[in-house]
């Protein structure tokens, strides 16, 4: 399989602070690749280097066969980018924005109008086509942004946290669009903070933290390295905790919070069975919660510590 994007030993520092510390990535053409990591992990910098916006301090990136440092123009001709901040012209209407991009792709008047009309329809913007982008809602702006990226039929599309701040409906719509693009042979490079999004869309995932790839593989491979779901039980007093801990041998016990963490699939039947068992021995449970693995768990499993943000929150407590 041919590679759409390769990065070798990618390094970048800003003012002495190392942001990327030797990143190696390989994205097969026609697949979705997700770069997963917390804020400040280096996701946006990686996208900026790959999309020719920022120069790397070291290493090599090839996009659609072109070295982005030596031949940025050729790489640019193959890519489309939708960043975290909407890249639309707020003073122009939705339609004018699309026609502007069509002109910059040298598509010609008729073809430009045809594509603009098609994209306005596809992204549910036809009714707002004649309104200036400044009047658009966040979701509409994001859709216009993606539509502008698609005007030039790019082979490789970079999406930097494309669903951050979107309502669930717009998020579904974005996911659907990504699937359609990949079905049409496009390569997608997607960054996200959300494990479920990477799981939903990506053929391969790389987890980065502090500028290093800490894990890479298919979603299934990664999930195997993550602890499963668990049920958390909080007891009214130490007696109940003692009794339950003795009965449930494989549970993790937290005396300070009077809780017990029991590995489980988290399903209703499992929880009911567990509670019935405890009820039989009169260990009084105050509170039950089911905990499914999230990005923090991935990080904890991969790096042995919490993500920077969560750690900060823990410190505040």
């Amino acid at each position: 399989m041919t590679s759409a994007i390769t990065a070798t030993g990618l390094r970048k520092s800003f003012g002495g602070k190392v942001v990327l510390d030797g990143i190696d990535l390989d994205v097969a053409a026609g697949t979705t690749f997700s770069l997963l990591g917390p804020n400040g992990a280096g996701k946006t910098t990686t996208v900026q280097i790959m999309s020719t916006l920022v120069h790397a301090d070291g290493g090599e990136v090839r996009v659609a066969g072109h070295d982005v440092a030596r031949d940025p123009a050729a790489a640019r001709a193959a890519i489309g980018v939708t960043g975290q901040f909407s890249a639309v012209d707020n003073l122009l209407t939705g339609e004018e924005n699309l026609l502007l991009i069509a002109d910059l792709h040298h598509l010609g008047r008729t073809e430009g109008r045809r594509r603009a009309a098609g994209l306005l329809d596809k992204f549910d913007l036809a009714d707002a086509a004649r309104k200036t982008a400044a009047t658009y809602s966040g979701g509409m702006r994001r859709r216009l942004d993606l539509a502008m990226t698609l005007v030039g039929d790019p082979q490789v599309i970079f999406l930097d946290e494309p669903t951050t701040g979107l309502d669930p409906r717009s998020r579904r719509m974005m996911w659907q669009t990504i699937r359609e693009l990949v079905a049409g042979g496009v390569t997608i490079f997607l960054t996200t903070q959300q494990l479920d999004e990477a799981d939903e869309l990506a053929d391969r995932i790389a987890v980065i933290d502090h500028g290093k790839v800490v894990a890479a593989g298919s979603p299934e491979e990664l999930k195997r390295s993550i602890p499963g779901a668990s049920v958390r039980l909080r007891f009214a007093g130490p007696a109940g905790l003692d009794a339950a801990a003795r009965a449930l041998g494989d549970a993790v016990r937290h005396d300070d919070t009077l809780t017990l963490e029991v590995p489980s699939d988290g399903g209703a039947i499992a929880v009911r069975t567990l509670l019935n068992r405890l009820g039989d021995m009169a260990a009084e449970v105050d509170e039950v919660s089911v905990h499914t693995p999230d990005l923090d768990d991935v990080f904890f499993a991969l790096t042995g510590r919490l993500t920077a943000e969560t750690a900060e929150m823990e410190n505040v407590r």
Binding site: Q48, V54, R76, A87, D89, L92
Partner: protein
């Protein structure tokens, strides 16, 4: 298409974009004409007679004939502050990232701003001249001299626009452009715009005689009303070309920096 043809095509596209911004929000064009017209009225109505007395031998029959060239230069100055703010808005919003990831001529966005600024300045100076004629301005220029006036205004606007583009790119936020705006709006006051440099005192006189706006104003005045401009024309062209090159080189260098740095 050749590289040059591509650059011209992309620059034309970007010029249409900038002009569309002006047409959508004509208020910038209106204030760009309104402020010079207000200054014109202020200096004619309030200070006109007093200033005319002070001009002595240099005094034309009407003070407005002395004043208009300076007001035209101020009009070009106001136009360039709009340019600096427009470029800054572009480079601090996400749209610049999109342009820079597209296979387009890298300076086309900047060219678009400059060409539309030239068009804007020509329109607003023409409007100011129209108002001035209505107020009693009597230029003596023939067709060739009028064309030369347009040429000088284009050269001045080119110099101010490229400087404005560089300032707009250099500023981290729109507030960062206020220094430039203050300079281009204040410098004409310390020039031969309102009274001749010879009437000023000490170091101010030296400054007014040697700052770039003075030869430009003297040249315009010579062309419009037939007053002698000394070596003004050569100095005016030299200043304009020099500042254009400086602004262009500075803007080029800034536009090649990494994004957000």
């Amino acid at each position: 298409m050749t590289t040059l043809a591509l650059a011209a095509w992309d620059s034309a596209t970007m010029t249409r974009r900038s002009l569309r911004h002006v047409l959508r929000y004509p208020v910038t064009l209106v204030t760009g004409v309104l402020i010079p017209v207000l200054l014109l009225l202020l200096f004619i109505g309030v200070f006109g007679e007093a200033l005319k007395q002070g001009l002595g031998a240099a005094a034309p029959s009407a003070y407005i004939d002395y004043l208009v060239p300076g007001i035209l230069v101020m009009t070009a100055g106001y136009g360039s502050s709009t340019t600096a703010m427009a470029v800054n808005r572009d480079s601090t919003e996400g749209i610049i990232g999109r342009f820079r990831t597209m296979a387009i001529s890298p300076t086309s966005v900047l060219n678009g701003h400059v060409v539309s600024a030239l068009a804007r300045t020509l329109v607003s100076t023409a409007l100011v001249i129209g108002v001035a004629i209505g107020l009693g301005f009597r230029p003596t220029a023939d067709v060739v001299q009028w064309l030369a006036v347009a040429g000088v205004i284009v050269l001045l606007a080119l110099a101010l626009s490229w400087l404005a583009v560089a300032v707009g790119l250099a500023a981290k936020a729109v507030e960062g452009t206020t220094g430039f705006i203050l300079v281009v709006q204040l410098l004409p006051f310390i020039s031969s715009a309102i009274v001749p440099a010879a009437q000023m005192s000490g170091s101010v006189r030296w400054f007014a005689a040697n700052e770039p706006f003075t030869p430009v104003i003297d040249t315009l005045r010579g062309l419009l009303t037939g007053t002698p401009d000394g070596d003004g024309a050569v100095a005016a062209v030299a200043w304009c070309v020099g500042l254009t090159l400086a602004g262009y080189v500075w803007a080029r260098a800034l536009s090649r920096r990494d994004l957000n740095r």
